[in-house]
Symmetry: C2
Subunit: 592 residues, 2 copies
């Protein structure tokens, strides 16, 4: 059973991701170590004791559509109620609407733990938090007044309605339409698919944020507007009014996250009588809906990255426990009488260490991304730098962590042998749940396009090159350290960073030359290359902070394992970026 790794999380926040410096320089206000520890401990307790025990029933029962209503799995309604009663929904939300305005880093750490407990459950607050951010940043005063407090408390949940059957990655193709009404409201019509927690029975109201097109809107993404469309209209006194013209038509039958209702939503078909059209209000300006979406995209993508970290952590814990207990065969060097615990077999040890390194690496990348988001809001003149850093880290955090979630969950099944394939064991659920994360909120291929074409050119390439410079400093610090046990780490890191450096320079040159197809051919290998290098460097940063006194988490040993067993892949990845495009282009005849 999952146990929240509170100490590991606290260490990574403080020593690797930058929370320590931010706190000591006063950027996080009067937030003290005691409060951080208290929040993490209590979040960990809730995730471990309340959320995780309900994950399996959520998977088995799934969300069910009964007579047009969505029923959550047994116990989930109370779980959600208890969760909001703990005040968790408003951790980072503005104080004016009842939130605690704490740094995103803390929220992301807590999100990791909710997701480890049950990814399907944690999706509800993930979506609500995104909706809060969109309304707070772009909504009118009236919208904020009417909706935010209940959303911050979690009494009302939020959704994002983007996808339509023919518009997934390409939002420009969407067809949902909106009509202006004289009273300043709008009527929304259309069908949206894949709407997470689009309907359920745990909250009194559901606030849908819906992308749609006005009749006179320009074609493509410049003609999209964002609307707030509540399930129940809200009276002037704040009480709930009549049902709005929208409903959940069906639920998807999915590979994983069964407890999370994935809804097809129908807007404006007049099912509840009266005039057709779901009543909504524009969020931000007309035709600027995509800009509103982009505001929250960093956070939403990072939140999905946390799902990858979370599954990797939970799957690693499970595999580790099994490998210590299960005995088979005799490991080399075994001196005992009977069979060895399988953890003593070198191949199993390699697998588990790989799982640990990927988990801790993706955690550090994701927390560093959250740190950059926090800094972008608090660092004064340096805000723009941190905004760029957050923008640069976001696609890497999203893609590397979600790929790690799938890979680690799959390795976790393998460690369990035949038992891993049996659903009751629980290892398979991690793979089923994890598999969506590289897809939604922008597929990892889309992340790679974003990384290469939009993020590398930030500040003319200075942002990424400056970051690489910081990574070199970490490798040099390892080289200067007198800590035992680093082995070849310093040299390995230096080579890996040089691979990143070379691939980055090549891509920037290709983009400058207008060779977009060549650059894009290597986008996914480049994205992984970046994530691997960051994994090595962040593990090293943690190892340097922990030191070599033998206490602590064995960080030097894990860092060395990653440096000497995982990082050599960077050469192949650089090669694919720099040399791969020609053969890819030539082989397209096979795809005709």
């Amino acid at each position: 059973m999952y146990k929240a790794p509170v100490e590991e999380i606290a260490f990574t926040l403080k020593h690797v991701a930058g929370m320590g410096e931010a706190m000591s320089s006063g950027l996080f206000g009067d937030l003290g170590e005691d409060l951080v520890e208290a929040i993490l401990s209590e979040a960990g307790r809730f995730a471990t004791e309340e959320v995780a025990p309900l994950a399996e029933i959520g998977d088995r029962q799934g969300a069910r559509l009964v007579d047009g209503e969505v029923r959550l799995p047994d116990g989930w309604r109370d779980l959600y109620r208890n969760w909001i009663a703990g005040g968790w929904n408003g951790l980072t939300a503005p104080e004016a609407f009842g939130g605690q305005a704490l740094p995103d880093m803390l929220n992301v750490a807590a999100l990791e733990m909710w997701n480890s407990g049950s990814m399907a459950f944690a999706l509800a607050p993930t979506l609500t938090m995104g909706a809060i951010e969109a309304v707070y940043t772009h909504g009118s005063a009236a919208l904020k007044e009417t909706y935010l407090e209940k959303m911050v408390s979690g009494e009302w949940t939020g959704t994002m309605n983007l996808t339509e059957p023919h518009a997934g990655s390409d939002l420009g193709a969407l067809k949902a339409r909106a009509e202006r009404r004289p009273d300043g409201s709008y009527r929304i019509f259309g069908q949206k698919i894949f709407i997470t927690w689009g309907e359920h029975d745990a909250a009194d109201n559901i606030i849908h944020l819906v992308l749609a097109r006005l009749p006179d809107a320009p074609a493509g993404t410049r003609g999209i507007s964002l609307f707030l469309v509540p399930k129940f209209l809200v009276n002037d006194d704040g009480s709930l009014g009549p049902r709005n013209d929208l409903f959940c038509h069906s639920l998807e039958h999915k590979l994983g996250i069964h407890g999370s209702p994935t809804c097809t939503m129908i807007y404006g078909d007049g099912r509840f009588g009266g005039d057709k059209g779901a009543i909504g209000w524009v969020v931000g300006e007309e035709n600027k809906g995509l800009a509103c979406m982009f505001t929250m995209m960093n956070n939403a993508r990072l939140a999905v990255g946390m799902q990858g970290v979370a599954i990797a952590e939970a799957a690693t814990q499970k595999a580790l426990a099994y490998a210590k207990e299960r005995t088979q065969g005799r490991a080399p060097g075994s001196t005992g009488a009977g069979m060895s615990p399988i953890i003593d077999h070198p191949d199993i040890a390699r697998t588990l260490l790989t799982m640990k390194a990927l988990t801790q690496g993706s955690r550090a990348i994701s927390y560093a991304c959250a740190h950059a988001i926090d800094m972008s809001r608090r660092a004064g003149e340096a805000s723009r730098h941190w905004q760029e850093r957050a923008a640069l880290l976001t696609p890497i955090a999203k893609s590397f962590s979600t790929d790690a979630g799938v890979e680690v969950a799959s390795l976790g099944i393998q460690v369990h042998g035949g038992m891993g394939f049996i659903e009751e064991t629980g290892a398979a659920r991690y793979l089923r749940d994890a598999r969506i994360a590289p897809i939604y909120e922008g597929t990892n291929g889309i992340q790679a396009i974003d990384l290469v074409t939009r993020k590398l050119p930030l500040s003319g390439g200075d942002q990424v090159m400056g970051f690489i410079g910081e990574l070199k400093a970490i490798a040099e610090a390892v080289g200067r350290s007198n800590l035992d046990g680093f082995g070849e780490t310093a040299a390995r890191l230096a080579v890996a960073i040089a691979d990143l450096d070379a691939a980055t320079a090549w891509l920037l040159a290709a983009l400058a030359d207008g060779r977009a197809a060549e650059a894009l051919a290597g986008a996914t290998p480049y994205q992984r290359l970046f994530g691997l290098v960051l994994t090595g460097c962040y593990l090293a940063k943690g190892a340097l902070a922990e030191g070599g006194d033998g206490k602590g988490g064995g960080r030097i040993a894990l860092c060395r394992f990653a440096a000497e067993n995982l990082l050599a892949e960077t050469a192949a990845l650089r090669d694919r970026v720099v040399n791969g495009a020609a053969s890819l282009a030539a082989a397209r005849i096979l795809l005709a």
Copy 2:
């Protein structure tokens, strides 16, 4: 929907895996091209038109245990009856018992197609064929006389009963017991788990091969005997007699292969009255059960490898079709008006080409393994050489193909985007089904141990070094060829083969020095290294055979893509083998 790639399969058999030479040198008797083509075409038709359409219902309904009887999914009983009516079960079986004694290569190619159609369905004949081989090779004349004809026709199916809760990879730990009876029969008692097709309603009888221990047996694997234990006893006239004392206690609830009943079998609890103990007969000698198992292990492991190839092929076909049809965004260089087919986006093209290369590579490796098995039975003085070659290739075929099955199926989901996560799309089933193949019939970690510790030392290392020499000759032939389009293939292959060469030499030296733990630490990376090199070399062999006339399958382009985009990984894998053990050993403190 899957369509059997009959031409691709025939080409690979003939030009890559060695069937062409074997036929022209008369080793396959009077087997002619026409017959090969007819068999492959008809097998392909049956897999495409009869098996594949019933895969989804098999997945959805699964096998069900009702009142102690296992009911197959709707339509599967008739499907099985039609399949045996086609004579497919006896393709390679001995003619004396009604088989056709055709080469294993053909059977393996057909198995690929059945498995692409439905892996859960194809497991039934896979197990029966293994049981036929064990009885034919080791059984007494009386056992053969009584059982083989019906097993060869498929009227009776076969099973392998190895695993017990505490004995999976380690068969020495098994506890099922056998007692001798004065009439020469035995009584079997015990529980077996994970018994594939252990009970079902499609065959008149089920012949269980069961590993158990005699009371006076030595401890460990030297005290295991193999018994034939029929579900229904067989009368002297060949008619079915009373029910034997064994039954299916429960079915597993699994991640995939839902249509295949995975049974817990109970032997000897007296449920059907009379004396307790399931009646059985020893196959081979007492206490030599493991040797009997080893006889069929090459074939069984290769058969599981075919499942990997099969899923990879089916998943690739599905993703390719979707990527041609689905439009999103504008690909670089797109000149059309609307959205581009996603196949035009470089990242999707890279994904699909990777899927194709892994599929064709694992197919070629597996067919080459089947070729070696065939040659080991027909090549006269060279039989021992081919036996070693088969032994060497088996763990690679099993592990590389099953890993490819999982990887390609997962990539296939990714190509489908959000639709890939929806069960009705069918892409997710491939991943769920594929995930067992790296586990059963010896986990891929066990395959790696086998490859390094038992197969590399064959003929004092001469077998593997001779094989590497053959691979070098392929790389040199690419270098000498005047065929356009090979790009850097020759140089890339040479480097990859040099990596394999160096890693092999290092492992042989480590084994000779008694550094088993160090050698085993790199066993899995080495196994993948070998598979990748073989992929490159076999794609090159096919490309050389096809030539560069622009007709055919674009093999030169695919080979170049693999050489320039996939093979660079070999340097990292060699590095892990040669340099990875120290940091792995040091990091074990993390696993305490």
